[in-house]
């Protein structure tokens, strides 16, 4: 195996834009994903701010109702399909999965590059729907409304279909990589917990996404040919559309959160300087979540006309999700107990994650109860719930991951004080934005509307102001990252004293990840 020259790494191994666009190196593809996901996040975030601004006051504030509906749809689709789904797996999974199991690359590097291009293609087609009358259906494209409205929905669903293919290829690649490319001594019970989480995610990506694919194709056929499968006027069944859609999209919720759970496992053990408590319990609970996620989709259909039998069944099974999730949280707390906790920025995000994710999870159990869901359905309670899980969960973990792995990815240290400031703003802003929405929802404010009754105004104002604080937090975070890249100090190979393999190579890693193939003879987190 070729040893690299001094100072050579994956960034300066080859030069020029073309070498990046044609690269087969998983690390560079990870960076390309990072840049594109950040760009999408910026666009999706702008829509979010605009939505909140519109809701600042009763009646029209900045845009018309129709524009509001479209902004809400774009916010949802961009954030789901282009930010949260590819976020952790495609960015950090691509960069770190091979390194953390001691491999030189993912199993299929060409496929890996192809999935990035598919994401770009899908995103472009989806966003192009803006020029075809826009889409105002929400990210779920429920029939029959979605087949009666503008033709923009065709672009949007085709785009989502292609992005789904990208997601499938990433998942397929990761599964084979984990199965086949682990370095000597790296048994399945020694792979880091982030890898277990990515592996579980990949299983869902491969098993669930095809059903979304056919659903979206059917929707396009419905819109173009009027085939009637989902159209009650033609003998079809709109509830069947919801079955098809949520068979993917509920597991997709775990595509979004599982990698985040993996990241938090890494952060908690690293910054507690203590071996993770219950490695196997956390690892297998990831698989358990992935498995159970396929049995619960009907809880999105409690009030859609699904049969009572199915409703009761789904209500019961949904609560089971709480078990493996709680196992993780308890294990994290047990890991922190009597550890030497360092409150570095990633750890702050991890603790923040545990706090808000628990709120998100407990409100999830409330929504799983079919009787309560009838009351809460389609209110801001639901909006608050899934933002506590998606933003408070996934985005917090994403921020934590950025500050944890930034030194490794770019070889630069960030300014800790600024990074902590970003956490303070994001954490406070997040709770100020979304906690009032729980109250609004339980008071009966329906979601997705451009307007509301006057008595909801004060809490909406608080929520909108909170959104500005979150935005400030992300801006500070972005400045911290850019500052680190431009002016940051040279990072040592292992600044956090972590034990996993990615810290045993150079910062930034060399082209082939390691100078010589590593060999492992113990668990991933042997701190004591």
């Amino acid at each position: 195996m070729a040893t690299s020259h001094a100072g050579e790494n994956y960034i300066n191994h080859e030069k020029g834009l073309w070498s990046w666009l044609t690269t087969l190196d998983h690390k560079r593809i990870g960076i390309m994903y990072m840049i594109s996901v950040m760009a999408f996040f910026f666009i999706g975030g702008m829509f979010a701010l605009a939505i909140r601004l519109e809701l600042f006051s009763v009646g029209k504030t900045i845009v018309e109702a129709q524009t509001y509906n479209q902004m809400m749809t774009f916010h949802g689709t961009i954030m789901v399909f282009m930010v949260i789904v590819p976020g952790l797996p495609a960015v950090f999974g691509n960069f770190f999965l091979p390194i953390m199991i001691g491999a030189k690359d993912v199993a299929f590097p060409r496929l890996n590059l192809l999935s990035w291009y598919l994401l770009m293609l899908g995103a472009t087609i989806a966003v192009s729907s803006m020029f075809f009358g826009g889409v105002d259906t929400g990210w779920t494209f429920y029939t029959p409304y979605s087949i009666k409205g503008s033709i923009g929905v065709i672009n949007m669903t085709l785009g989502a279909f292609i992005m789904g293919m990208s997601s499938i290829l990433t998942g397929l690649n990761f599964i084979v990589t984990v199965h086949k490319l682990r370095c000597p001594g790296m048994t399945m019970n020694r792979i880091p917990l982030f890898i277990w989480a990515l592996y579980s995610t990949a299983i869902i990506q491969v098993l669930a996404t095809p059903v979304l694919g056919i659903t979206l194709l059917l929707l396009v056929a419905e819109r173009v040919l009027g085939v009637g499968i989902f159209d009650p006027a033609l003998g079809g069944d709109p509830v069947l559309y919801q079955h098809f859609f949520w068979f993917y999209s509920h597991p997709a919720v775990y595509i979004m959160i599982l990698p985040a759970l993996g990241v938090v496992s890494e952060l908690i053990t690293t910054y507690s300087r203590k071996t993770i408590f219950g490695y196997k319990a956390i690892a297998y609970s990831s698989i358990a979540i992935a498995a159970v996620s396929f049995f619960v989709w009907g809880h999105h259909l409690f009030v859609s006309g699904q049969s009572e039998v199915a409703g009761i069944l789904f209500s019961f099974i949904t609560m089971l999700v709480g078990v493996p999730t709680a196992i993780k949280v308890f294990n994290w707390v047990a890991t922190m107990y009597r550890g030497s906790i360092q409150l570095k920025t990633p750890m702050l995000y991890a603790i923040g994650f545990m706090f808000v994710f628990t709120i998100g999870g407990v409100t999830g159990i409330m929504l799983a109860t079919v009787g309560m869901d009838v009351h809460f359905h389609d209110t801001y309670f639901v909006v608050a719930h899934f933002h506590y899980v998606m933003v408070g969960g996934t985005l917090f973990a994403l921020m934590g991951a950025i500050f944890h792995w930034l030194p490794k990815m770019f070889g630069k240290m960030h300014n800790e004080a600024m990074a902590r400031l970003s956490f303070v703003f994001v954490f406070i802003g997040f709770n100020v934005t979304f906690f009032p929405q729980f109250i609004l929802g339980s008071l009966g404010m329906p979601r997705r509307y451009f307007d509301y009754l006057p008595e909801y105004e004060p809490l909406n104002r608080i929520s909108t102001m909170g959104s500005w604080v979150i935005a400030l937090g992300f801006i500070v975070g972005l400045i911290t990252i850019i500052h680190a890249l431009l002016k940051g100090k040279q990072a040592p190979d292992n600044p956090w004293g972590s034990t996993t393999l990615e810290w045993q190579t150079k910062s930034p890693p060399v082209f082939h990840n390691f100078d010589s193939t590593p060999s492992v003879n113990g668990g991933p987190y042997e701190y004591r």
Binding site: H179, R182, C183, P184, L240, H243, A310
Partner: protein, 105 residues
């Protein structure tokens, strides 16, 4: 890398010409059987018979033509998982549809 992990697969099984032909003949016979079975009217059972014969044929194709019979356990688990989740999807969808009141029936 990993000298111990994957050297057990060195002998890739090569299926004989005769076995290939036997599987083909079996598939043709089963096709004829499907057509014959469809001439009788068993009501709903026609669908089940058709699916059953198709599954036997599918097993032949998967096991022999696709060499799954001689493949590693993992590949079999992977392919079986696809069918399992499909079954799950269909059972629950059918359960909902048939425990619901159909306004047009």
């Amino acid at each position: 890398m990993a000298e111990t992990q994957h050297h057990e697969h060195h002998h890739h099984h090569l299926m004989s010409l005769q076995t290939h032909l036997k599987v083909f003949v079996a598939l043709v016979i089963l096709t004829v059987l499907t057509v014959v079975a469809a001439q009788f009217h068993f009501g709903v059972f026609n669908t089940f018979i058709a699916i059953f014969i198709a599954t036997v044929k599918a097993t032949l194709v998967m096991g022999w033509f696709m060499h799954l019979k001689y493949d590693g356990v993992m590949n079999r688990v992977i392919f079986a998982a696809g069918f399992f989740f499909l079954l799950l999807f269909s059972v629950v969808c059918l359960l909902d549809i048939y425990t619901r009141i159909n306004p047009r029936a």
